[in-house]
Symmetry: none
Subunit: 417 residues, 2 copies
């Protein structure tokens, strides 16, 4: 079954708000096994909204409208749907009363007369309660196969209504089960990942493999649909296994909710290690990313931001000779920074970053984007050299990803020895 | 002139990502005086994409497509636009070479063959350079009145290209002069800012005032349109003056491109000060935000991330007695951290942060969201206490904003004395 979303609201067309509802609904409908081929945004304009509704009814089974159910004059979704379907509207006394009570609870004594428009319902519609606001939703059967759904625009009203009422309704109608599994890969670009899977991707029907670039990582989502949940889950397994074999230790997790920093923090916890950070061009971003993880304090006590050469020498013991002969952006400096940080913090693990984030400061030998990352685990030091692309911010963000990924690999390696 | 957006990407239809590009483009196009009546999202499917392009060309003057220009097989925007317009495609050797160079810089020797598709251009198109990635954009005149624009989907590529090339192009085409001025406010929520301006906002026609909440700040954009640039600019001035009077030192800048961290770094530069950072719950985010600013090295040499009590004592000289009696999250600790950081780094200015970011660790006396921020300028120390709302990540982000805002106020104050 195909579902189409129509988001109604001039504030979206003016860029005043981001349409997060569309993403929420898309994700939820995918899980319900509904296909979503079109998402359309139109303003609070009767002609264009009517047009969008008619087009959607022509090509999709379910048309889900969000927004334009509010109390102000420019909220015209209800009336426009009724007109397009050739239906009458009538007032529901219970809703009128609920609106009255809602305003009393909120301490507002005289709701504006426009508010009573929210008690008007389209003939033949099933009324859907709104437990987070005053405008009810509606499910309007058009004919045997087609359906129009109206939902309020405010995200907290929409989400609660979808979870409580609309999702169960759609699931019952669709009789489909969808299962999916995520594989997260670090250290390879999306195009290389896709190329390595092209045989699987081009042969796919059910399950399918989707590739998604996510800020320096590539996430693969394997999705199977069917009427039997167990069979769907079983059909995903061999594909996940095959992917893991192809990408080896570039796969860092198959848990949908696990981030790279969470993975690194749990690795450190499992190995009973504390870690110190020593950062130059990232200026605290590596540490701050580790601290994203609740409970990071179990593995992280202190970090050093050594932006100047003096600080690298004073806080981390990088040799003045190294700074003079090799420069601050060098393999030797990254090595001494990592070793020095571990020592200064009395930590078993340390990560160091030194590089040129730009836009100025690059030379022919050491261009903008050149970054050295060092990892020290129990006294052993690895250093890797990277050439990053992009602006200052992007170079620093990707450096953090590469650093955490390297840390993960080094901790694993040192554990195997 | 009417512009329509078509976002291309199955990942949007599956709800894997939020379409933030549409909002960005909507906001920018509104400023350029373009009308946006429709935003459409379709997947990487030739038939449906062709259909969307044809529909858009029938009802809008400019069709702006984003996404689907990447290297993988399912990126079909280029080819589909060419087919719909009945145009040939040809390879541009310069772009081929740029892609080659890009991969060499990235240290990847053998880009997959799919990458070369990004060097293919639609006949008659103006090529738009992509300074943040490999896929170029295109401006394709259809006839005297209609235009198709192709832009890459990744937000950082799209934004840079829009600012550098597409916005100037569209502004020239529209022959409308739009002038705007931004006033940036820190330390007040959007609803309070809007309430303080309600008389101006409800009376507005041209110029208009827009309020935008931007991660802990509120930006006001005053926009005037017309055919005469000088008159438009002149009409903005009294409004900006009035706003500055109403909000006083809560206004930190009226420069569109100046961020709070840039403002703080230039204040420090002007006062010839260096700054040190001492962070607990933010774990390096304050330092990292300062380092966002190119040239931050002139005012920032070193920072300390003191997540544990030991580190606070060892690196910053916070008294063990203070930690024991008052706790790490206390006015006294923030004070000693700021003073200690300035001393350890031999810096005239320092900022310290200590707080409870949650989700665990809160008590009745010291709940999650309690944050102390200290500023030390030439030996004088200020400490402010905040109660932040939101999840761990949001509390830390807002703390950084409040910290930089406080720093700005303290530097100014100390200069006036």
């Amino acid at each position: 079954m195909v579902i189409e979303f129509i988001s109604v609201g001039t504030e979206i067309l003016l860029g005043n708000i981001t349409n997060t509802n569309a993403r929420y609904l898309a994700e939820e409908c995918a899980v319900l096994g509904l296909s979503n081929y079109y998402q359309v945004t139109v303003g609070d304009n009767e002609e264009r909204l009517s047009d969008a509704i008619r087009t959607a009814l022509g090509r999709s089974d379910i048309v889900l409208l969000t927004g334009g159910l509010g109390p102000t004059e420019d909220d015209i979704t209800r009336e426009t749907v009724a007109k397009v379907l050739g239906r009458q509207m009538y007032e529901v006394p219970e809703i009128h009363q609920q609106i009255q009570q809602y305003f009393e609870r909120m301490g507002a004594k005289n709701p504006s007369s426009n508010n009573w428009r929210q008690a008007m319902v389209i003939e033949g519609a099933e009324i859907v309660e709104n437990h987070n606001g005053t405008a009810p939703g509606m499910i309007v059967p058009v004919d045997e196969n087609k359906l129009v759904i109206l939902m309020p625009g405010p995200p907290e009203e929409l989400k609660m209504m979808f979870e409580e009422s609309i999702a169960p309704y759609l699931a019952g109608r669709n009789q489909q089960v969808i299962c999916s599994k995520t594989v997260k890969i670090c250290g390879m670009g999306e195009s290389r990942v896709a190329a390595a899977l092209s045989d699987l991707i081009s042969a796919q029907t059910n399950p399918t493999i989707g590739t998604y670039a996510k800020g320096g990582e590539v996430h693969l989502r394997i999705t199977a649909s069917g009427t039997d949940a167990k069979a769907a889950r079983k059909s995903i397994k061999p594909i996940v296994k095959e992917i893991k074999e192809r990408f080896g230790d570039k796969v860092y997790t198959t848990r949908e909710s696990e981030t790279l920093e969470q993975h690194v923090v749990s690795l450190l916890k499992r190995r009973n290690m504390t870690i110190a950070t020593a950062e130059s061009c990232t200026g605290g971003m590596v540490a701050s990313t580790l601290v994203n993880v609740p409970g990071a304090s179990e593995v992280f006590n202190e970090g050093y931001i050594t932006y100047s050469n003096d600080a690298k020498h004073k806080l981390l013991g990088v040799k003045k000779k190294t700074l003079k002969n090799e420069g601050a952006v060098s393999e030797a400096c990254a090595r001494e920074m990592a070793k020095g940080a571990a020592k200064a913090a009395n930590a078993r693990a340390a990560i160091s970053v030194t590089g040129i984030a730009g836009p100025d400061g690059g030379t022919k030998e050491k261009p903008v984007g050149l970054v050295y990352i060092g990892c020290c685990i129990d006294g052993k030091v690895w250093v890797e050299c990277y050439h990053m692309n992009g602006d200052r911010q992007k170079i620093r963000e990707i450096t953090v990803k590469r650093g955490l990924d390297m840390l993960r690999r080094c901790i694993r390696q040192s554990g195997e020895e």
